[in-house]
C-alpha cells in the first residue's frame, strides 16, 4: 500500500518527537484543569511569550536565554493565577473558558505591539541552533532536538509522576483534582494546590517554548496557537478528567498528525488539519467519553 510505504522510519521518529511536545502541553493544560476545572485556552500564549523571550535574548548565552524564558513564563503564569484564575474560581466553566480566550487574544495583541522587527529581535536561541543538526541513528536521520524533546518529555513526565505519587503535596493535588470540596474539608489548602499546579504548568510551557523555538525559530504572535488547538482536541479525545489519559491524548494527536503529515504528499499538507480532525470525529463517534473512558462508578454499601 502506498500510504504505508510513505510512512517510513523517518516519519515515525519525527511523529514521536511531535507527540512528546504535545504530551508536555497536554500535561500543562491537564494539571490546571484538574484543580480549577478550567480549560486554559491561553496556554499557547504562555509558550509564545517564552518564545519571544528567547528571541529577544538571542544574543545572550544559551543558558541565560533559557533562564529568562522560564522566568518570564513562570511570572506570567503566576500573575494570571493571581489576577484572573483565583478571582474567577467560583464562576462557571463557561465564564472561565471565555476569559482565557480573552487572555489569549490580549497576549497576542501585546506580542503584535512588541514585535517591531527593527533588528532587536533575533532568531530565537541562536546558540541552540546546533540542535537542529541531524545525527544518524541506525540509518535514520534524527534531528538532535527531537532526541532532546523525547528525553525532556520523558524526564519531565517521570518527575511529575513521582511528585504526584510520592509527596504530600502531590497527594493533595490528586485529591483536589478528584474531589476539591472534600479535599478542602480535610484541610487541603486550596491556594497552595492551585498555585503549585499553575507553577508546574508554567514550567512545562517554558520547556515547550524552548523545544518549539529550536524546531521552528521564526517567532510570530500566533506562535504555538495551532499546537494548542491540536493539544486541546487531543486532551478531550484522551479524556480530561485524568491526567494520564489527557497526556496520552496529547501524545496521540501529536503522533497522528506527524504520521499523517509524513504520509501526505508535500503539496497536500494543507489538508493536515482536515485529516486529523476527521480522525478525531471518528474517535469521538465511537467513544464519546474519550479514548480511555472508564465504566460508571459503583457505590458500595
Amino acid at each position: 500500500m502506498s500510504l504505508v510505504a510513505a510512512v517510513d522510519a523517518q516519519t515515525l521518529v519525527d511523529a514521536v518527537g511531535l507527540g512528546a511536545v504535545y504530551a508536555l502541553m497536554a500535561v500543562g493544560i491537564g494539571l490546571v484543569f484538574g484543580v480549577l476545572r478550567l480549560v486554559n485556552f491561553a496556554y499557547g500564549q504562555l509558550v509564545m511569550a517564552g518564545a519571544y523571550t528567547l528571541a529577544f535574548t538571542s544574543a545572550w548565552p544559551a543558558a541565560a536565554s533559557i533562564g529568562a524564558c522560564f522566568a518570564v513564563v513562570l511570572a506570567l503564569s503566576l500573575a494570571l493565577e493571581r489576577s484572573v484564575f483565583r478571582p474567577l474560581r467560583t464562576q462557571s466553566p463557561a465564564v472561565m473558558l471565555v476569559t482565557t480566550f480573552a487572555i489569549a487574544f490580549l497576549l497576542q495583541s501585546v506580542a503584535l505591539v512588541l514585535d517591531v522587527r527593527d533588528g532587536t529581535i533575533g532568531e530565537a536561541a541562536r546558540s541552540l541552533g546546533g540542535l537542529n543538526q541531524a545525527v544518524s541513528v541506525g540509518g535514520v536521520d534524527v534531528r538532535k532536538v527531537t532526541i532532546v524533546a523525547v528525553v525532556v518529555a520523558a524526564t519531565a513526565l517521570g518527575l511529575l509522576a513521582l511528585l504526584l505519587a510520592r509527596t504530600t503535596i502531590g497527594l493533595h493535588m490528586r485529591a483536589a483534582a478528584a474531589d476539591f470540596r472534600t479535599a478542602r474539608l480535610l484541610g487541603v489548602q486550596a491556594d497552595r494546590v492551585i498555585g503549585l499546579a499553575v507553577l508546574l504548568s508554567g514550567l512545562l510551557a517554558a520547556t515547550v517554548a524552548v523545544i518549539l523555538t529550536v524546531q521552528s525559530p521564526l517567532v510570530a504572535p500566533d506562535f504555538a496557537l495551532k499546537e494548542t488547538i491540536f493539544v486541546l482536541v487531543g486532551v478531550v479525545v484522551g479524556g480530561l478528567d485524568r491526567l494520564w489519559t489527557a497526556t496520552l491524548g496529547g501524545f496521540a494527536i501529536g503522533f497522528a498528525s506527524g504520521v499523517i503529515n509524513g504520509a501526505l504528499p508535500t503539496d497536500k499538507t494543507v489538508f493536515l488539519p482536515s485529516a486529523v480532525f476527521a480522525l478525531v470525529i471518528l474517535v469521538l463517534l465511537l467513544r464519546p467519553a474519550g479514548l480511555f473512558a472508564r465504566g460508571p462508578a459503583v457505590e458500595r454499601v
Binding site: A178, D179, A183, R184, L185, L186, G187, Q189, R300
Partner: protein, 236 residues
C-alpha cells in the same frame, strides 16, 4: 457546664431566599457527645456545613473555644481543629486506604502524625489489613471506618459526623456505633448527626431535635425508651 468548645448563637443560613436554619443556638462542651436528629431537610447537614465554613452565615455566630469561625474557609476550619466525617463518606475510591488516611493529616497542625496513624490503625484493624488496597474496593462499613479514621488522624478537638450509619446494613451500623463508643472513651468531643433517632438519643449525652431549621427540643438518654416523646419531638 464548663466553657463550651463549640458555640452556635442565633445562626441563620439561607439558600437563596429560603431559610435553612433559623436562629439556631446550642453549645457543645469539651468531652461531650451531642446528637442532632430530625427529619430530612431539617437542617442537620446544613448545620455541620455552616460550622465547617462551607456555607456562609446570614446571621449569628459560630465560635470554637471562644474564637469566631465566621468567614473562615473550610480548610482553615479543619486546621483549627474541627474534622468532618461527611455524608456519603466521601472517601477517595481510586486512592489506597493509606493515602486516604494520609489525606486526613492535611489538617494536622502538630507533630505526631505517625502515632496518630498507628492509633487509628489499631482502632480499625481492618484498615491496617487492607492498607495498600484501593479504598473503593472496601465494603460500605469498612469505607465508613476509613472516613472516621481519616478524620481522627487530624487529631481534631471536635469531630462532626454526618449520618455515619446511612446506607449501611444493621450489623454494620453496630460496628460504627461501637467505633463511636471507643472515640467517646478517648475523650474526643463529638457532634453526631443521625437519622436513627432512638439509637442516637440513647448514645449521646444530649440530643437536639431539629425541624424546618428550628431547634424543637432537647432529649436526654432516658428519653430513648419513651417512644411517645420521640414521636412527639419529630411531629411537634
Amino acid at each position: 457546664m464548663s466553657e463550651p468548645l463549640l458555640e452556635l448563637e442565633g445562626v441563620e443560613v439561607r439558600y437563596g431566599t429560603v431559610s435553612a436554619l433559623h436562629d439556631l443556638s446550642f453549645a457543645v462542651a469539651p468531652g461531650e457527645i451531642v446528637g442532632l436528629i430530625g427529619p430530612n431537610g431539617a437542617g442537620k447537614s446544613t448545620t455541620l456545613h455552616a460550622v465547617m465554613g462551607a456555607l456562609p452565615l446570614h446571621a449569628g455566630s459560630i465560635r470554637l473555644a471562644g474564637r469566631p469561625l465566621a468567614g473562615h474557609a473550610p480548610e482553615q476550619v479543619a486546621r483549627a481543629g474541627i474534622a468532618l466525617v461527611p455524608e456519603g463518606r466521601r472517601i477517595y475510591g481510586g486512592f489506597s486506604v493509606d493515602e486516604n488516611l494520609r489525606l486526613g493529616l492535611a489538617a494536622r497542625q502538630d507533630e505526631g502524625a505517625d502515632e496518630a496513624l498507628a492509633e487509628v490503625l489499631s482502632l480499625f484493624p481492618v484498615l491496617a489489613e487492607y492498607r495498600r488496597r484501593p479504598a473503593g474496593t472496601l465494603s460500605g462499613g469498612q469505607q465508613q471506618q476509613l472516613a472516621i479514621g481519616r478524620a481522627l488522624v487530624a487529631g481534631p478537638r471536635l469531630l462532626l459526623l454526618d449520618e455515619p450509619s446511612l446506607g449501611l446494613a444493621p450489623a454494620v451500623v453496630d460496628t460504627v456505633f461501637a467505633a463511636l463508643a471507643t472515640i467517646r472513651e478517648r475523650g474526643v468531643t463529638v457532634l453526631l448527626v443521625e437519622q436513627r433517632a432512638r439509637r442516637t438519643v440513647a448514645f449521646c449525652d444530649r440530643t437536639h431535635v431539629l425541624a424546618n431549621g428550628l431547634l424543637r427540643t432537647t432529649l436526654a438518654p432516658a428519653d430513648a425508651d419513651d417512644t411517645r416523646a420521640l414521636v412527639a419531638a419529630y411531629l411537634a
